[in-house]
Amino acid sequence: MEQVANLLLSGLSSGSVYALVALGFNVIFKSTGAINFAQGEWVMMGGMVAATSYAAHWPLGLAILCAVLAVVMVALLSERLILRRIKKPTALAVTLMMIAIAICSKSLVMLLLGKNPANLPGFSGSEPVLWFNLRIHPQTFWIVGITCLVMLATHWFFERTVLGRAMRAVAAQPEAAALCGIEPRMAMALSFGLAAGVGALAGTIITPLTLTSFDHGTVLGFKGFSAAMLGGLGSLPGALIGGVALGTLEALAGGLISSHFKDAVAFVALLLTLFLRPTGILGRGAVEKV
């Protein structure tokens, strides 16, 4: 019983991070139709920048803020200097370009910040909190809390603010949106900034639990992508559901069956989604009217 509760808790915290990564995938997919394979690298970059700043004796809050801003800058620069120069920015061209950007980001971090793994302290220490018989790392609360807040904020942004609605308009019908005076390129830049910011934040909140190093991003990106597919690509609540479901499944498979299967869960989930319900749990199929 205690074992299962521990597993669920660990699934919830890694699932929350997957959800944030998936959110980044979804935001960019919504506005460009492309899969942003640099998302995982941005998560890693956020963790690395925060850890490096913290190691240079910056206060923790400032280090995190700096990390988020730095990664947003990298994303905006990639968008401005590379993606905007593509003659025909089709979804496929952007996706391929993102793979290149992912590889460059990883190498950049390795060259600038080094190959050593880096660490951040828990936001409120690392003394486990006793709750019934469970020993919970306080960082777990931060991770789950921040994920919920970010989810709510993004939802509010897309539903309630003019900017968010404008972005949705561009995603739905670029020509019509342009006629109404919305610059589609602006929407693309905004979605990159948003995805990078959320990714970097995910990187900083998970680092106290798992450490980070320049090669951590790829796996995280893949897990986030699986979570996004599972929940439904492009759906914001889908990211949350997909992430938490994937994290929980992974933890349960690792703990109850065998740790050999833990990483396979994401692959199997991805395959099953593609076979059985390609639109994901909450996704809607693309309808093309002729």
């Binding site: 597993l7 690392s126 998970i206 639990l209 833990k262």
Partner: protein, 388 residues
């Protein structure tokens, strides 16, 4: 005669006599090829291992080389990818035509892949990696040796400690790499004959959460947990073990984890940790009667003078490997491959920095359990915890 033609004739004569007939003293250098991973996930170890080789080659060449011949050292980075390691091996064999290969990418799995090529090419290969499968089964490893202790010996040494402390039930948490799996394979052989009950769990080197495995181990009520990895996941293990209150048990990490940086990352979570290690990291703590003590101090001084930082046991591992290559080539009286191989197999009671090396035709792994100790980490340094 046309003056230009004359000049050309003179030049070609000079070329023919000046270069085609080298003076007897300048013999061809001995070519030693090395492959390590100085980038990628295993880069953590690779940098120091490369430095150890560099130092050894430099020292040997400064003292006049091997039997009057300098060492021409060719190094390739395998980038922690087996495929790249294999490409580099082919290049060493086909293009560089080296006389011997030292170093197998500092990943056991890569060394095992590489020896498929080196065995076929019948070239002596001194691996600097850990896994026992690198040198067993001996019938398929005629040309392969290694400068590290066998996992069987490591497990015997650990079992000695557990028996001494009355520990009977343990868990082995090994990563899914060649390093972790080889350890599990050897423990399965050693545990029954030493009366140890073991539960086996694994994790992936890229894992960031080990709660599932640790939860299972917690339920099994073991007395000690042994973790086998060279990756930062070992820090996650320590932190989560502490979080689940498992740090009251005896926690043990392998010789692949004896690294200051890991200890600093683990911080408080490493306070009760024991690590099985060669004697190198605790050289200063050894009793004066131990012959290893002076050799470790000497390498430390030379390394610090050259690199301005402290060496670790991984640097010692590769330093020894280059010197073993020299000893074998010297003994063989040249680079005849079969003679070098036989000379390597004949090395016994050879004093290295990592320990006393004994090779034989049946055992291609140099160190034994007598070269291993248990250490802990106190106040920013590794200290001797269990000597014999």
């Amino acid at each position: 005669m046309n003056p230009r033609l004359l000049a050309r004739a003179a030049l070609s004569t000079a070329l023919a006599f000046g270069f085609a007939l080298p003076p007897a003293a300048a013999q061809t250098p001995i070519k030693i090829g090395s492959i390590l991973s100085v980038t990628g996930p295993a880069a953590f170890l690779g940098e120091d291992m490369k430095a150890g080789m560099e130092l050894a080659v430099e020292e040997i060449n400064a003292k006049g080389g091997v039997a009057g011949r300098k060492i021409d050292w060719i190094f390739y980075d395998a980038e922690s990818q087996t495929q790249k390691g294999l490409t580099a091996t082919r290049r060493l064999l086909d293009q560089d035509k080296v006389d011997m290969i030292v170093g197998g990418g500092n990943m056991s799995g890569m060394a095992i892949a590489m020896l498929g090529l080196t065995e076929k090419a019948a070239i002596p290969f001194m691996s600097t990696e850990g896994a026992m499968d690198i040198v067993t089964p001996i019938a398929e490893r005629q040309w392969t040796f290694k400068s590290t202790a066998d996992d069987e010996q490591v497990m015997e040494r650990l079992a000695d400690y557990f028996v001494k402390k009355g520990i009977k039930k343990i868990a082995l948490l090994g990563d899914s790499s060649g390093f972790g799996q080889s350890a599990a394979g050897q423990l399965k052989k050693v545990a029954p004959r030493r009366g140890l009950e073991v539960m086996y769990e694994t994790f992936n080197p890229s894992d960031t959460d080990m709660t599932p495995q640790l939860g299972k181990i917690k339920e099994a009520n073991v007395q000690a947990i042994v973790c086998w990895t060279v990756t930062p996941a070992g820090v996650v293990f320590l932190k989560q073990a502490q979080q689940l209150g498992l740090d009251k048990l005896t926690l043990v990490h392998s010789y692949g984890f004896v690294d200051q940086r890991y200890m600093q990352l683990a911080g408080d979570a490493a306070k009760n940790l024991l690590l099985i290690s060669v004697k190198f990291p605790v050289g200063a703590d050894l009793p004066d009667t131990d012959p290893q003590k002076a050799r470790i101090a000497a390498l430390t001084r030379a390394f610090e003078a050259k690199f301005k930082r402290k060496p670790n046991q991984f640097a010692a591992q590769t330093y020894d490997a280059i010197y073993l290559a020299r000893a074998a080539i010297e003994k063989a009286g040249g680079t005849d491959r079969a003679k070098v191989r036989d000379a390597l197999a004949g090395i016994s009671s050879w004093p290295g920095v990592g320990g006393i090396f004994n090779f034989s035709k049946e055992r291609h792994s140099g160190l034994s359990k007598d070269d291993l100790v248990l250490v802990n980490y106190r106040d920013g340094a590794f200290r001797l915890a269990d000597y014999k």
